[in-house]
Structure formats: structure tokens, C-alpha cells
């Protein structure tokens, strides 16, 4: 397959000048998202796209997003060829589904610059492939939700819930971080009445089923739910609006979506995308490696906080401790690889109910 991608690349070069002309609508910056994803997902794809748009508009570069017919390597490679033929010079791959295909793309198009989020390109045998034209970017999601869980308890919430879409690594990290943040605050305050509901709903879609599930949690006494499930969040927001609940959003600042959102645990895809593009433009793009964005790199944060008791000062303090890993506070946060399911996290203070 890589061979064919290379042949395609050769023919692409001939076609490139014509196809790249802006009028037909191809883009110099291309965002590839997975077949199952949506561009405006109010979460990671959208964050990324916002960064692309901002940079493209500022610098007069055309941009375009692409979706494969299906998530197989062949379809993804075809997609990349299409993008390159249409003039793409900088390609952002925003889906861990692309990890195998990505290795073929970056080798087939050494002149094109790539960044790939949430995963690292691997070849057919599972070995990492990091050519100089690619940067693999990851976030410490658990740190952003650690902030959220901690803040919520500090703000006075005692019954908290986590609703993830599916148990994919990023979502699991969000969940574990949230639980650990709660646990940490709980211990600090010496509470004994903190309860956590924990569930992966099985999809990322806003459906009446998801609305009803969230509503039933609120009805059952849950005061605040952190939802980490992209578009599905809308169902939880709706449930909160109807049941006097509050919600913590995810990925990007979701506060505009609903008045019930008291903060969002974000990973700053927008800024990171923008900065990568800028580095590429400035010729300072430094590829061939994996970078992890944590609190230290300002890669994660809480956005638009509307807490009653938890103050900005407290937040700043906590953030600093995370960034500096004071007393191992950030390295203690469990991640997806640490436990198989949330009920295995050793909690001494908060009580967790895992709804399968």
C-alpha cells in the first residue's frame, strides 16, 4: 500500500498546480476527520477547525476539511491523496482512527507538514513512525478534569456524575481525572458524603435516551454532571435545564451552549493548532517527535468558570501546583492505562457507583 501512495503522490505532483488553484475550493490547510466524526462537534474537531480558520483567514491561506468514506487505511490514504492533489501543504489529522494510515501519508508526502492529535502514527507492525514532517500531539486530559472535579467539590457539590461517550482513551482520561480531582478535594476537606455516578453511554449522539439518563441522575439527586462526549453533551445540558442541574463541559469552552454549564474542562486544541500552523509558516516547525500538552504547557484548563465558592485565586493556585507537580499531585492522577474500569481506582473518601 505505501508504494501505491507513493505512485499516487507522483501523479499528484503533476496535477497539483492546476488543482491547487483556489477557485475550485481545495485547501492549502487540510483537516482530516474520521468517517464517524462531525466537524462542528462542539468539542475537539471544532476546536481544531477554529484554529485552522483563524490562522487561515489571518494569513490568506485556503483551508478545507475532509472525511473518508469509511475508516479503513485504504480510504484514509485515498483521502489524503485527494487533499494533497487539491493543494494541501499542511495537514491536520484529528482522529486516532488514522494512526496506521498516517504512517503511510507522512512517508508518501515528505514535503507536506502534518500534525496528528491524540495518537502516534504506527506502521503495519505496530511500530511508531515519526518522520521530521510530523508532530504527534497529545494532551493530559486527566489534568483538566482533575481541576474540574476538585473545583466542583470545593464549590460545595457533593453528588457528582461523569458521563462519557465511549471508553476511548481520551474519554477515560477525562473520567479518571475527574474522579481523582473529586477524591483529592474530598480528602483535603475531610468529607464523607461525596458520591460519584460514572457511566459511558456508548455513543456520542444527543438522543432522548441520553437526555433521559441524565435527567434520571439529576432526579436521583446528582447535582452536577461532567459530560465528556462531544455532541451528546447537548442532551445532558437539556436534562440539566429541565431538572435544575448543572454541567461541566468538555474539550472546548461550551459555556455558550447552555446556562447550566458552570465551566468546561478544556484541552486547548484551538491554540495548539494555531500555534503549530504559525510555526510552520515561520519555518520553525519542529517535527519528528511526540509532544504532550499538560498544565505546564498551558495545554489544559478550566474555561468560563461560574462557581459560587471556588475562587479564581484558588484555581490559579491549584493550576500552579499541577504545573509544578507539587507533592506529585499531577503524576498521581490515574490515566487510562492505569485501571481497566473506574471502580478499580482506589478511593478512600469519595464513593463511586459505576453504571455499566
Amino acid at each position: 500500500a505505501p508504494q501505491s501512495a507513493a505512485t499516487a503522490a507522483a501523479s499528484a505532483e503533476e496535477a497539483a498546480p492546476a488543482a491547487a488553484s483556489e477557485t475550485t475550493g481545495g485547501g492549502e490547510i487540510a483537516l482530516l476527520i474520521s468517517a464517524a466524526g462531525t466537524l462542528d462537534d462542539r468539542a475537539f474537531n471544532q476546536g481544531c477547525w477554529n484554529g485552522v480558520k483563524e490562522f487561515g483567514d489571518e494569513n490568506g491561506l485556503s483551508y478545507m476539511y475532509y472525511q473518508p468514506v469509511e475508516d479503513t487505511v485504504e480510504a484514509q490514504v485515498t483521502l489524503c491523496d485527494t487533499a494533497v492533489k487539491a493543494g494541501a501543504k499542511f495537514i491536520i489529522i484529528n482522529s486516532d482512527q488514522f494512526k496506521v494510515a498516517a504512517s503511510k501519508m507522512i512517508t508518501a508526502y515528505p514535503d507536506v507538514t502534518f500534525i496528528i492529535f491524540d495518537t502516534v502514527p504506527i506502521d503495519d507492525d505496530g511500530n511508531q513512525v515519526l518522520t521530521p514532517n510530523v508532530l504527534a500531539i497529545q494532551f493530559a486530559e486527566q489534568q483538566s478534569t482533575f481541576l474540574a472535579g476538585y473545583a466542583a467539590v470545593k464549590d460545595g457539590y457533593r453528588k457528582l456524575g461523569f458521563m462519557g461517550g465511549m471508553a476511548v482513551p481520551a474519554v477515560v482520561r477525562f473520567g479518571y481525572g475527574f474522579v481523582w480531582g473529586i477524591e483529592t478535594a474530598c480528602k483535603e476537606l475531610g468529607l464523607d458524603d461525596v458520591e460519584i455516578m460514572y457511566n459511558y453511554s456508548g455513543d456520542f449522539k444527543p438522543t432522548p435516551e441520553n437526555q433521559a439518563r441524565a435527567a434520571s441522575w439529576f432526579q436521583g439527586g446528582t447535582e452536577i454532571i461532567h459530560v465528556a462526549a462531544g455532541p451528546m453533551g447537548a442532551s445532558v445540558f437539556a436534562a440539566a435545564e429541565q431538572n435544575n442541574g448543572v454541567v461541566i463541559g468538555v474539550d472546548s469552552d461550551q459555556s455558550a451552549e447552555s446556562p447550566t454549564i458552570i465551566t468546561s474542562a478544556i484541552k486547548d486544541l484551538e491554540t495548539v493548532t494555531y500555534n503549530s500552523l504559525k510555526a510552520w509558516k515561520d519555518g520553525t516547525f519542529d517535527g519528528g517527535k511526540i509532544v504532550l500538552y499538560t498544565a505546564k504547557e498551558n495545554g489544559v484548563a478550566l474555561a468560563s468558570m461560574k462557581f459560587k465558592n471556588f475562587t479564581q485565586a484558588e484555581y490559579d493556585d491549584l493550576y500552579q501546583r499541577l504545573a509544578d507537580d507539587v507533592d506529585g499531585i499531577s503524576s498521581a492522577i490515574p490515566t487510562d492505562t492505569d485501571y481497566e474500569s473506574p471502580d478499580q481506582i482506589p478511593l478512600t473518601c469519595a464513593k463511586l457507583t459505576y453504571v455499566e
Binding site: M197, N199, P206, P208, A212, S216, G220, Q242, E257
Partner: protein, 317 residues
């Protein structure tokens, strides 16, 4: 009590859209045109009404806004269903394929249009439409909590549509003619009734109601519309068949199905079910499994309207 009220209100979220759309489907079937494009029409109805809400938000009071949005959803559903009516009535096309084409056009169209006009495929809205309490009526014991608190205008609308469907179908001239066209169009044709016109109206009603159903479906369940109604159009079709093409039975079928869906969704809020440790997917498939069992055990009549799905040529014996 509180739990029951809660379950009841959740159930309405499922049942009311199913009811409205299934009744829509019924009008189409009853005039002789199968409409499997209900799902697509729901999407278009939701698209148009939420676009409208988005633009008009803040200028008018929320219940007026909702009323206007309802109108928009109905009209847009009707317009979209014209595609189906034209194909199946004028061109005598295969009704299943034309209906399915609506289902395929709608989601793509919705995303595209939304992006074209508001630069965003997801249309967010502020849900200010819930009526917290209706003075006096809400004081009625039991009923007050169930029907006059924390309720949407659309719930009443659903019940109104139910009553009106029954009335129109069985008590009016139009209903008589509509049913005749679905059973044996040669009969109305031979007495000078314009079968094509009646069928157009039947399909338009199904379009209007499905469009409305789209709005009603999204309203309480989300804070935005993202171009899908999760296959509820097909469920409405099933509810219509389960309800044997009769408004009253469709009503019970939608309540039945809505209750099952509610139970399967909210089990996690009920401690007992939580301790069982049964994975959520099994709860999710329960309503469908139970429906299959009900189909086996329950009374059955395969008999839909006899002329359903058959193109009609004027003057054919």
C-alpha cells in the same frame, strides 16, 4: 409520586413525537401512499424550525416563538414531502425508493444548509419553552403534577393532533374521502372525487406532522439540532403499524413504546437496577425485544389500507 411524575414526563419526551409522526404516517398510508420518508421529513422540519428559532430568538416571547416555530416546522415538512408526493402521485414512482431518498437527502441537506447559513452544522437554541406551571390547573391533585407542571406546549399539541386526527379521519367529509382513496381509489374516482388531490393532501399532512414531530423530538432532548433524529421516523413507522393505522391504537402504541424506552434509559438512576450490573446495551434493546414479543402474543391484523403503495391511474378498473 415524584418518581412517577418524572417517569411520566420523560415518557412524554419519547411518546409525543412518536405519536405525532406515526399519526402523520397514518394519514399518508390511509390515502394510499406509503411514506417511509418520515425520518427525513422530521429532520427537515427540525432544521427549518430551529433555524427560525435561532434567528428570531430574543425578539419575541418564548411561547409565541414556539408557536411560530411550530408553524415553520409544519410548513417545511409539507414542502419537503411534496417531493415524495410528486414522485409517487404524479410520476407513479416506487414509493419506497422515493421515501428512502428523502431519508438520504435530509441529513446531508440539513448539515449543508445550516453550514451555508450560520456557518455551523449544529444549530444551538436556548430552551426557554418549558412551561413551569399553569396557574390553577397545576393545583389539581395528581393531574396537576402530571399535566400542568414542567410541561411543553408541544405535549398539548400532540394530544390535540391525536384528537384532531381521529375527528378528521372519522367525522369529516375529507376523512371519508381520504380513507376511500386508501382502500379502493376506483370508488372515489368514479364519483368524481379527485384522488390525486386527496392523496396530495394526505401526503402533505404526513409531511406537516412529521416536520412538527422533528421539532417536538429535538426540543426537550437537546440544546441544539445536529441534523439527525436518531432513526425515530422508522420507529414511528413501527408504531403506526403496531397501532394498526388507527389513531386511538397509535396513541396506545406510542405510550407503550415511550414507556419502554424511558425505562430502558433511566434504569441507571434507579439503585436497584444499578446493583444488577447488567450492561446498558441490554436495557437499550429491551423495548424492541418486548415489542417483538407483544407482536407475537398480541392481536394482529396485517391489514393496512388496501391500496397502500399502489399507484393509481385515473379511470382504471
Amino acid at each position: 409520586m415524584d418518581t412517577i411524575t418524572f417517569i411520566f414526563h420523560q415518557m412524554l419526551n419519547f411518546s409525543i413525537p412518536l405519536l405525532i409522526v406515526a399519526l402523520g404516517g397514518m394519514f399518508s398510508s390511509r390515502c394510499g401512499i406509503i411514506n417511509i420518508g418520515l425520518d427525513g421529513i422530521m429532520i427537515i422540519g427540525a432544521l427549518a424550525s430551529f433555524m427560525f428559532i435561532r434567528y428570531a430568538e430574543g425578539y419575541i416571547s418564548s411561547q409565541t416563538l414556539l408557536l411560530l416555530a411550530i408553524l415553520v416546522s409544519i410548513v417545511s415538512g409539507m414542502i419537503f414531502s411534496l417531493l415524495h408526493a410528486f414522485a409517487s402521485i404524479n410520476l407513479k414512482a416506487n414509493q419506497i425508493i422515493s421515501g428512502q431518498a428523502l431519508n438520504m437527502i435530509a441529513p446531508a441537506f440539513s448539515v449543508f444548509v445550516a453550514r451555508l447559513f450560520i456557518g455551523d452544522s449544529i444549530i444551538s437554541f436556548k430552551n426557554t419553552f418549558m412551561i413551569e406551571e399553569i396557574p390553577f390547573l397545576s393545583q389539581i391533585p395528581v393531574l396537576g403534577d402530571l399535566l400542568f407542571k414542567n410541561i411543553y406546549l408541544t405535549t398539548y399539541l400532540g394530544l390535540l393532533v391525536l384528537w384532531a386526527s381521529h375527528f378528521v379521519l372519522y367525522k369529516t367529509r375529507f376523512g371519508l374521502r381520504l380513507r376511500a382513496c386508501g382502500e379502493y381509489p376506483q370508488a372515489p374516482d368514479s364519483v368524481g372525487i379527485d384522488v390525486q388531490k386527496i392523496r396530495y393532501i394526505g401526503v402533505l399532512i404526513s409531511g406537516g406532522l412529521s416536520g412538527l414531530g422533528g421539532l417536538v423530538f429535538v426540543l426537550p432532548n437537546s440544546t441544539n439540532f445536529n441534523g439527525t433524529v436518531s432513526g425515530y421516523g422508522f420507529l414511528a413507522l413501527a408504531v403506526m403499524i403496531l397501532g394498526q393505522w388507527q389513531p386511538s391504537k397509535i396513541f396506545f402504541a406510542s405510550l407503550f413504546f415511550g414507556t419502554l424506552k424511558t425505562m430502558s434509559a433511566i434504569y441507571s438512576g434507579i439503585p436497584f437496577f444499578n446493583t444488577l450490573g447488567i450492561p446498558g446495551n441490554y436495557y437499550k434493546l429491551m423495548p424492541y425485544l418486548i415489542t417483538v414479543i407483544v407482536l407475537i402474543l398480541g392481536p394482529k391484523s396485517l391489514a393496512g389500507p388496501k391500496a397502500e403503495g399502489l399507484p393509481f391511474e385515473k379511470g382504471m378498473s
